[in-house]
């Protein structure tokens, strides 16, 4: 599976990037031009955004992610929307500048950038965030991602350890940084905010995506990745976009499955795992990039609580609400019978169990018993 970063590969990455940048710029310019032409015709310009709400989200098994529906809302330039229009256009201009100067900006950066826009400046970051989401949705229709618009998240990504070499080329100089994820000692490789230009060398059999730092730490320090030949990823709660994108690219490029190992509670199931696998509900317009359709759920399952006699806590009201919501409204869970019965089982048990509950049987029980036993039967993982 070894793969070299060749000149040809670099050229390809460069071409890809150039093509994407060109597309980004042309998308922006087309949108602006449409508005400009409409103005010249003395018409009222309008922008069409995908409707971003659960009612406009569907789950397609073949595609494997939550997909935004066809509903669009049109925002016409009127006296009332003139401010938002001006701000949207100015932010599009900023994005174009960023692409052309090969730079990027975080949400906070954009907010401060807007302070140069005189009357169009934002008073609060929440305002600029909203406009950014609008632009992202606007261009998602053209398959242009937020990262391609050069708006990057402030949040930092997850951590990686195991049998993996990340090839991180500097596109300008062509110099390639080889990052060996086995060589971080007791530490780990941190996933960068942009992962599109990375490529991978690995012989691992699977990726283990872990919810908590505690379990990740244990598996990493005991070199679990060595004994079971895998790559460990610490999601640290709900995986960020770049973590999702990293796992997605890794699993697709290396053609290896992804197993999720999270707490057995409605949050671990419906927020962390669901978001990893099919993307998030309120940012459905970008899920196509930021999901890992070939992830499956290793544990902890409700059945594990019984099988391993795990210590539990009672479900809180918010847990119950979340679980019921998943059963009733989440298009993903609704389409998976085995998930439906698993969540119903959890609800009827009325309890939750954390990953680390396995420590009851010994601190390294998870390494020595639980995971090996589970990994014998990946076919039985929840979808």
């Amino acid at each position: 599976m070894a793969k070299k970063v060749t000149r040809a590969y670099l050229d390809k990455v460069r071409r890809d990037n150039a093509r994407k940048d060109k597309k980004t710029i042309s998308s922006i310019e087309n949108a602006a031009d449409e508005i400009y032409k409409k103005i010249l015709k003395r018409g009222k310009p309008a922008m069409r955004f995908p409707v971003r709400s659960l009612s406009n989200v569907s789950y397609d098994k073949r595609k494997g992610y939550l997909e935004i529906g066809k509903a669009r809302k049109e925002r016409t330039l009127t006296v009332n929307t003139v401010k938002g229009f001006a701000q949207t256009l100015r932010m599009m201009g900023l994005s174009r500048d960023l692409v052309r100067s090969n730079d990027f900006a975080t949400k906070r950066d954009v907010y401060y950038q807007s302070k140069n826009w005189e009357d169009a400046k934002f008073d609060e970051q929440t305002e600029s965030d909203t406009v950014m989401d609008d632009i992202e949705a606007l261009f998602s229709v053209d398959d242009v991602s937020r990262e391609q618009l050069r708006f990057v998240p402030d949040e930092h990504g997850g951590a990686v350890a195991g049998d993996l070499v990340v090839l991180d080329p500097d596109i300008e100089s062509g110099e390639v940084e080889r990052i060996d994820c086995t060589r971080f000692g007791s530490g780990a490789y941190s996933i960068p905010t942009s992962v599109e230009h990375l490529s991978f060398e690995t012989k691992a059999k699977f990726v283990l995506a872990i919810e908590t730092g505690g379990v990740f730490q244990r598996l990493q320090s005991h070199k679990f990745w060595k004994s079971s030949n895998c790559i460990l990823v610490n999601m640290a709660g709900v995986p960020t976009r770049s973590t999702r994108r990293f796992i997605r690219r890794l699993s697709e490029e290396a053609k290896i499955p992804v197993y999720a190992f999270v707490d057995c509670d409605p949050y671990g199931i419906s927020n962390i795992y669901r978001t990893l696998k099919v993307g998030s509900g309120n940012a459905a317009h970008i899920n196509r990039f930021f999901c890992v359709p070939n992830a499956t759920y290793l544990g902890v399952t409700p059945q594990d609580i019984i099988d391993y006699e795990l210590p539990t806590h009672p479900l809180k009201d918010v847990d119950i609400k979340r679980a019921k919501d998943a059963l009733k409204n989440d298009p993903f869970f609704k389409s998976k019978k085995s998930w439906k019965s698993a969540i119903e089982q959890l609800l009827s048990m009325g309890v939750r169990a954390e990953q680390q509950a396995l420590a009851m049987w010994g601190l390294n029980y998870v390494i020595e018993e639980y995971l090996p036993r589970k990994l014998k039967n990946p076919g039985k993982f929840l979808p």
């Binding site: 602006a32 400009y36 103005i39 009127t78 006296v79 009332n80 201009g93 174009r96 500048d97 826009w117």
Partner: protein, 610 residues
């Protein structure tokens, strides 16, 4: 300053005084009355003093405690010499009787000043002014003179003030002067079946007495009845034991006015600003009395405050009407039947109530039959048993009859309310509503509402509420008043005015509500708040809502204009930003940019107007 009184009026006044005294003691009195029959007999000839006696027993602390002491003493003595007590055959009641003596109204008042509005120094000052203004207005109106009142409050020390009030009323003849100002319960205003201003307290004489009590200074009254006659100055105090005026000095004086009355009272009292101040009271008086010219000098501000009258015409004098049978309470009915001169129940009903004819009486009798007892309406009213009167009362309630006449009321009127509101607040908008008269429980009443909006009125505060009953400002117990309740219950948010749940509206608002009625239902004897009968609340709400809707129309129009202005601003502000962005993204020339900007501005301007 009070109106001149004819001899016949005097009688009614005294009668009325009795009635009120009786009414006050109400149920509680009943028990005590029976146990003390000897004393009652003894003072039967005493007329007004008899009433005061009863009041004293009930209200004043000291006589009661004296009594207790005496009983306990007696017990002690009877133990020591039991034989003596048996011999003399003297009952406890006899012994008590020797301790029970007449207490004059004045004396009663001296010990119970809190009952009459003199409970705190700040209130004492206000009560005095209220009584004085009331008297002046009534005097002028009764003599059909447009009132002109001059009021001066001067500080002697922080807690002693001098009050000078002068009106241009008819003046008072020399002989009456001491009686009017030197006796309590002497007047013409009690218990007429018409819309009256008075019946608030015990009168200006009480204020004078309070002054004498607290400062030792007698009240001074100057009155002149005609240009051709000299003004008379009387200095007088009240002999509290006898309820009689004591003239300290009487002389002719030179004054520069041709008729009217001037009263000087020195009293213990503190001057304060605020909701319960004299200033606030006069503000309210001026709102409800558009025909009054009022000059006021307070001890704090240098400039006098002057409310110029907005009309020369006196308000239509309210007409006196007979009570309507549907409004009469059982106790009152019994009382009326006891004192009536009519020979038959039928005659009594026809002559002492409005809207009752022999035909109506027949129907009432039929109703009594329906209630299970045929009450003979041809019997003497006095002969009816109380059970019969009860049935009669119920039967009257059940009988349909014409509503009382409503032409007896004298509202302020929309136009004049509007003028006084404008004069006092200089607002951006004034709306006034005078409802048609309505009837509740046999009493005709009429509600008026006025709203002043904007101008100098403070925008962040709760609305100022001005409550009036028969043109008299209500200053206390705002929360308990039906007027406040009806304002709170009105949907101000529908009228573009902020309102927190269950609270008064917030905004640059002054809301005036006036209820005129021959009998305003108050929540208590102190007449500080109007009681919330359903019909009254409903009328008040309808008046406020009618005014509110008009306010809403105005505010919506104003907001539309402001919106349009804001949008215009918007266009000016943000279109250049669109231009800049388009120029940036599409590499437009400056000319292309400005072209697009002006076209866009055009399009938006046009759409705005549509």
């Amino acid at each position: 300053m009070p109106p001149t009184k004819s001899p016949s009026r005097k009688k009614t006044a005294k009668k009325a005084a009795k009635k009120t005294a009786k009414k006050k003691v109400a149920g509680k009195a009943a028990k005590k009355k029976t146990s003390r029959s000897p004393s009652k007999k003894a003072s039967k000839n005493g007329r007004s003093s008899k009433d005061s006696h009863k009041q004293a027993d009930l209200f004043s602390g000291s006589p009661a405690s004296d009594k207790k002491k005496s009983t306990s003493k007696k017990k002690v003595t009877s133990k020591k010499t039991p034989a003596k007590a048996k011999d003399s055959n003297i009952t406890k009641a006899d012994i008590l009787a020797t301790k029970q003596k007449d207490i004059s109204v004045s004396e009663f008042f001296a010990k119970n000043r809190h009952l009459l509005g003199f409970d705190s120094p700040a209130r004492a000052l206000l009560t005095t002014v209220r009584e004085a203004i009331d008297n002046s207005l009534d005097a002028c109106e009764e003599a059909e003179i447009t009132p002109e009142i001059y009021l001066e409050v001067t500080a002697i020390s922080e807690d002693q003030h001098k009050i000078l009030i002068r009106d241009n009323g008819p003046g008072i003849v020399k002989e009456q002067l001491p009686k009017i100002f030197g006796r309590l319960l002497y007047g013409s205003k009690f218990h007429a079946r018409k819309q009256t201003r008075g019946q608030q307290g015990i009168g200006i004489s009480a204020a004078g007495m309070y002054g004498t009590l607290t400062t030792g200074k007698p009240m001074r009254v100057i009155s002149r009845i005609s240009r051709r006659k000299p003004a008379i100055e009387v200095t007088l105090a009240i002999d509290m034991a006898k309820n009689q005026p004591v003239i300290k000095k009487e002389r002719e004086v030179e004054v520069d006015w041709s008729h009217g009355t001037e009263v000087h009272i020195e009293l213990e009292g503190t001057y304060k600003k605020g909701k319960h101040s004299i200033d606030a009271f006069l503000e309210q008086v001026s709102l409800a009395n558009p025909h009054v010219e009022l000059t006021y000098i307070n001890p704090v501000d240098e400039e006098p405050i002057i409310w110029n009258r907005v009309t020369k015409h006196l308000p239509e004098p309210p007409l006196e009407i007979l009570p309507h049978p549907h409004g009469v309470e059982l106790g009152i009915l019994m009382q009326m039947m006891k004192v009536t001169n009519s020979r038959t129940v039928s005659g009594f009903l026809c002559s002492e109530f409005c809207r009752v004819t022999p035909n109506v009486v027949k129907k009432v009798r039929e109703e009594t039959v329906a209630l299970g007892k045929d009450v003979d309406t041809d019997r003497q009213p006095r002969r009816l048993s109380s059970a019969d009167v009860k049935i009669l009362h119920k039967a009257i309630e059940n009988t349909k009859m014409m509503a009382p006449p409503t032409n007896c009321l004298s509202p302020i009127g929309e136009e004049l309310m509007s003028k006084t509101l404008t004069r006092n607040f200089d607002p951006e908008l004034v709306i006034t509503v005078t409802r048609q008269p309505a009837v509740y429980r046999g009493n005709p009443f009429q509600v008026e509402a006025g709203i002043a909006y904007g101008g100098e009125l403070p925008g962040d505060d709760l609305a100022s509420i001005f409550r009036f009953a028969n043109r008299v400002p209500l200053q206390y117990e705002q929360g308990a008043c039906a007027i406040t309740q009806s304002i709170v219950a009105s949907p101000w948010r529908n009228y573009e005015v902020q309102q927190a749940r269950g609270a008064l509206p917030t905004g640059p608002l002054a809301v005036l509500v006036h209820i005129a009625s021959v009998w305003v239902p108050f929540t208590s004897e102190s007449k500080k708040a109007v009681a919330g009968d359903d019909e009254i609340l409903q009328e008040m709400r309808l008046a406020i809502m009618e005014a509110g809707r008009k306010l809403a129309t105005h505010l919506r129009k104003k907001r539309r204009l402001a919106d349009a202005e804001r949008k215009k601003d918007y266009i000016k502000k943000y279109i250049p930003q669109i231009g800049i962005a388009l120029q940036d993204i599409l590499d437009l020339s400056d000319q292309q940019r400005t072209g697009a900007e002006s076209k866009l501005a055009d399009v938006l301007e046009r759409s705005r107007k549509m």
